[in-house]
Symmetry: C2
Subunit: 768 residues, 2 copies
Amino acid sequence: MATLKDIEVAAAINILSAFAFLVAFAFLRLQPINDRVYFPKWYLKGLRNSPLGSGAFVGKFINLDFRSYVRFLNWMPAALQMPEPELIDHAGLDSAVYLRIYLVGLKIFVPIAFLAFAVMVPVNWTNGTLELEHSTLVYSDIDKLSISNIPKGSPRFWTHLVMAYAFTFWTCYVLKKEYEIVASMRLHFLASEQRRPDQFTVLVRNVPPDPDESVNELVEHFFLVNHPDHYLTYQVVYNANKLSDLVKEQKKLRNWLDFYQLKYSRNQSRRPSTKTGFLGLCGERVDAIDLYTSKIEGLSEAITSERDKIMNNPKSIMPAAFVSFKTRWAAAVCAQTQQSRNPTIWLTEWAPEPCDVYWDNLAIPYVSLTIRRLIVAVAFFFLTFFFMIPIAFVQSLANIEGIEKAVPFLRPIIELKGVKSLIQGFLPGIALKIFLIFLPSILMLMSKFEGFISISALERRSATRYYIFQFINVFLGSIITGTAFQQLHNFMNQRANDIPKTIGVSIPMKATFFITYIMVDGWAGIAGEILMLKPLIIFHLKNFFLVKTEKDREEAMDPGSLGFNTGEPQIQLYFLLGLVYAVVTPILLPFIIVFFGLAYMVYRHQIINVYNQEYESAAAFWPDVHGRIIVALIVSQLLLMGLLSTKEAAQSTPFLIALPVLTIWFHMFCKGRYEPAFVRYPLQEARMKDTLERAREPNLNLKGFLQNAYIHPVFKKADDSESDAASEDSDQGPNLVPTKRQSQRGTPFPSKHSGSSSSLLPEAVQEH
Amino acid sequence: MATLKDIEVAAAINILSAFAFLVAFAFLRLQPINDRVYFPKWYLKGLRNSPLGSGAFVGKFINLDFRSYVRFLNWMPAALQMPEPELIDHAGLDSAVYLRIYLVGLKIFVPIAFLAFAVMVPVNWTNGTLELEHSTLVYSDIDKLSISNIPKGSPRFWTHLVMAYAFTFWTCYVLKKEYEIVASMRLHFLASEQRRPDQFTVLVRNVPPDPDESVNELVEHFFLVNHPDHYLTYQVVYNANKLSDLVKEQKKLRNWLDFYQLKYSRNQSRRPSTKTGFLGLCGERVDAIDLYTSKIEGLSEAITSERDKIMNNPKSIMPAAFVSFKTRWAAAVCAQTQQSRNPTIWLTEWAPEPCDVYWDNLAIPYVSLTIRRLIVAVAFFFLTFFFMIPIAFVQSLANIEGIEKAVPFLRPIIELKGVKSLIQGFLPGIALKIFLIFLPSILMLMSKFEGFISISALERRSATRYYIFQFINVFLGSIITGTAFQQLHNFMNQRANDIPKTIGVSIPMKATFFITYIMVDGWAGIAGEILMLKPLIIFHLKNFFLVKTEKDREEAMDPGSLGFNTGEPQIQLYFLLGLVYAVVTPILLPFIIVFFGLAYMVYRHQIINVYNQEYESAAAFWPDVHGRIIVALIVSQLLLMGLLSTKEAAQSTPFLIALPVLTIWFHMFCKGRYEPAFVRYPLQEARMKDTLERAREPNLNLKGFLQNAYIHPVFKKADDSESDAASEDSDQGPNLVPTKRQSQRGTPFPSKHSGSSSSLLPEAVQEH
């Protein structure tokens, strides 16, 4: 067990590395050359143009104004300044509510920490159990502050019992308040929003096949009959997967063309050439620009013919459609009701936002959906409990002997003593590490296979799975060391009563481990997030090799997005740790509070300046967040029950049983009270908006507005890129034309709050 | 362990007693005096009038036609003759579908029994394990047919594994088919039904309080705004609980008045008198007829004033209303959507049928509902696991010494040896027996407290609870003897793996017990049901003391109803036993098949001739029935897994794990595929019915039809009884006037199928 000293050292290292990241960030972000990496959001919003071109040539790339370095931590207050309504306006409700998760963490744990330090630390500290009992053993100072220091059967455990009640009630209170706020924010957001196609549109799936009518006719007839007063129009869904592959291919080729054109423009003496064979490594040598131009032309033709085919062949129409109504009221009605006698056909649900649609999954029939769900459930079970088996297999293959056999010429190097031990220490971990890096993608693939129809739903489901995986393999796996499968085996062979006991007993002993974990993963990890190392490198690579025009540069930016499917489960792990250790080892709480505070600031900055949310689900994820905090609460109560029962404080157990019962009841209450706001759309609201709109715009052409709202992105993109390609060739020529930096000029969407938002623009803009 | 001989004896006894019941029934039902007990359904339908009055005086009461006794089992084919569509017409869909539960039992178990006897009995029988291993122990012949006879680790267990798969697939197949049939029956029933108020009406609960508007105005305004094109009318709900108490009191007094008037009319020499004090035992002696007449008059005034108060006092209007719409489509829309931003107010749901409404629960606010649910859940947990504690306490009080102290003058009798041992054997059981008799009522009270708003929902929830109670206390309690609490304690202290093992191992040993149980509870119990002993006695008592007019006699009939809350859980116990023992001890199956066959016949007879269903829920209970059979299936699979793992057939366990997974998946599939038909009302159907109706009856006055559909029964009844009382006094006078028996005459509702149904009328009618 680590002593306080060890923790101090670890804390110092992690604080230093976090600080180093922050300083590096502060330095890098002030360089104009990195402007597009650290402020892409403003570029995308059109509020900021290229920083290049002002001042001297060097000034284009490096910030020479030393005064700005003095205020290098200025981004922190700047990130906190933007008020929430403006933040919603700027980055969407999803991001604003995502930040509230961190705030909930602070709201829950700051008062709990104060209470715990005021009451429980003295109660724990003033015992001498560890000194007496383990006088021969090494015990840590941390443990003196924890529940371990209290003798068995001591009446002092009543303090912990009362505290468990207090913490539960406080957490539930915060959760209820927050659910209420988020629900009303969501409804307010939906109500105050501008007219959007998804408000009027319902996605219809599983249109039954009919030998006499096409899908178009079927949909039109069905809704004309069943919603005669409200039906407006529909858009069928085309199976454009092949077309979208072709367009992707074309884009890749165009990148290569750009690369060679750029190469030629820099060195006009020699036209670049490439080989036609595999990866350009073998085959005939030809002129690269000509090759790619002709290839692109060929693909363009293929794309055109494929598009014609899709448009004209009735078989490429999928049995799904976006049906639009004259009023929001009618759309709300259609989305919430069952249409047909057979509940597996004519399935209606709210259409996701157009950019939230996951097009590939729109046409999966009902039976296939249920089978996919079963397969994924079984696969996830095996993934969670048996993922170590293939990794162990890979590890057994990838040992030093194997490598020496595979690449014998490296043997002398490997046999060096230092290198050998490095590889031996490094190799077993690398397979696991690679697996963990790919895990979110694997889970995402599973969700895609399962058939969800919107990206937001995909991310929510992946987040749930990731949380379960982390709970079993990180939380339980760290407490009772052993793989998940071993745990499963143990649990099956344990008395039901003993499961919380086994875990409960190990909990106080693992406090120091988790403190270090929080500092590494939470503090340094979050500070690393703000540095955006990967996008930084990729941007500069792209910038050097591909960028010709301002538009290319825009495409080279990779602002990324919040990544709900990986970010939220990570936060939830901290909630879990905080709630579990609040009663047991309260010394852990300050570390968690620092995590929540730092993460809140960093992500607020990122959301304001960097991330570009792909979709807007209007905080549809909050019920999941709420539910998982409740799960953490119940786990903490069960584990405390197990722990106390081993401490011979059995008389307190009955009082603890009431806690999970009450918590589950609280969850059901919240579910009934607030969840409908996230699932259904009240008719009253819809009617209100309809009436208002009719009064304001009596002559609105809604049909025109909705006609082409739900077109497969590949049709839109193809249009864009073709017209772009044409304009590029004719207007700007192949050469790079550095445009003047025009801060706040030529803004397509003027900010409503330009007064306040200008003060929030990073200093780099204001300095120049 | 019982031998085959013991079983044979028990079977003989039970078959004889069942036979005796059937003979007694056959005899009693042919007596005209019992006609109203055994054929009340026909009286209620108006298809049969009083049998009294034809032939000689004795012939009024006793059937003297000896020919009819020869064909005393004729009711059986008669019960089976009525085709299902006519049965639905005659007794409602609920009853017809209820009978299908027995049919499902036959469909599942007959093929399973054939397969089991063809395959598994030989496999089990040809082993000699029991002879070898337990040569010193007594083993039964039954056990030689069961899985116990197979040696540990034998490859023969593969047979059982394959059979478990076959039985599961067969059961699921039958269940799916049946769910499909019942769902389409329900939809067809709803579609072909005549116009009913509940098709157009939605129950709105939790109307929010408003200081400026009354509930009436609020409801009207809200729906005029949010469903402007469809809203038709509304009816508020009055708090008439006090009034209904008064009416009940009045009815009781009128019964007494009738009793004394009858007494006087029989013996006109002396006017009957009573005492005014407690229970008529003490106080002043007064003329009974005058006393009750004046009492009834006083109450009538109180009722009138209370009715005026309810009608005029806005405080007696509850925050709930029945809102009616112009079309079925609009009602379906309103019932399926969320109305208000706050999901706990303006709650809409399908209005139950008018006679299915449970009026007392209409005004419970949302928060109170969730709290009630918590309280009931906790109470039910304690009821299930700790019900033995108060009973043991009562038992300890009610011992012989206690009785001797309380009633010392009985001591000489009690001290007699025979009596003493009888009481000692009898007393401990009686408290438990009384508890078990009252259990359904206790569970019903719980459901009422929980706040369901329709009688059908109350019965469904009570049935679920009763099933859980039976599963834990009868099924598990018989297998591992001990109270439920002891079991709970054992389970908590057992390895998770061991729980199915513990139960699984005891299962083969309990086969003989359950065979006897089936014969007593299933065979003799069902045969006793048809005898209707309790209604028979009560009818004759009432007939003697109270009946003056034909109408009184009608009221004296107590046809009863199916009693879903007690009947269905009993059937489910047989499903559970059948599925659990199908693989383990197939000899049990024939007993279960006989139960299902006998019960099907008996209940078909009862439904045709006796029961009068209070409400019609259109088979809304089927998802529950389906779900519980699935539970039985999963339990049987888990127990088989436990049993096989103790038989050292561990290699088969992985194959068994797939079974519950597949079964759960099957359940989820069915839930998605068929359950919506029982919860929602598809818009397509609604629109179709609306269009048809508009074409047929373009000038329909729907408002008039719906205006008074949902009136608290007490208002209706009060009207009825007052007018009745008046008509009785004036028209018929106080004397009993035996009316002529008029078979098939004066029928208010002529049967559509009078040709076929007349042949179904009991012979007694046809004979005379």
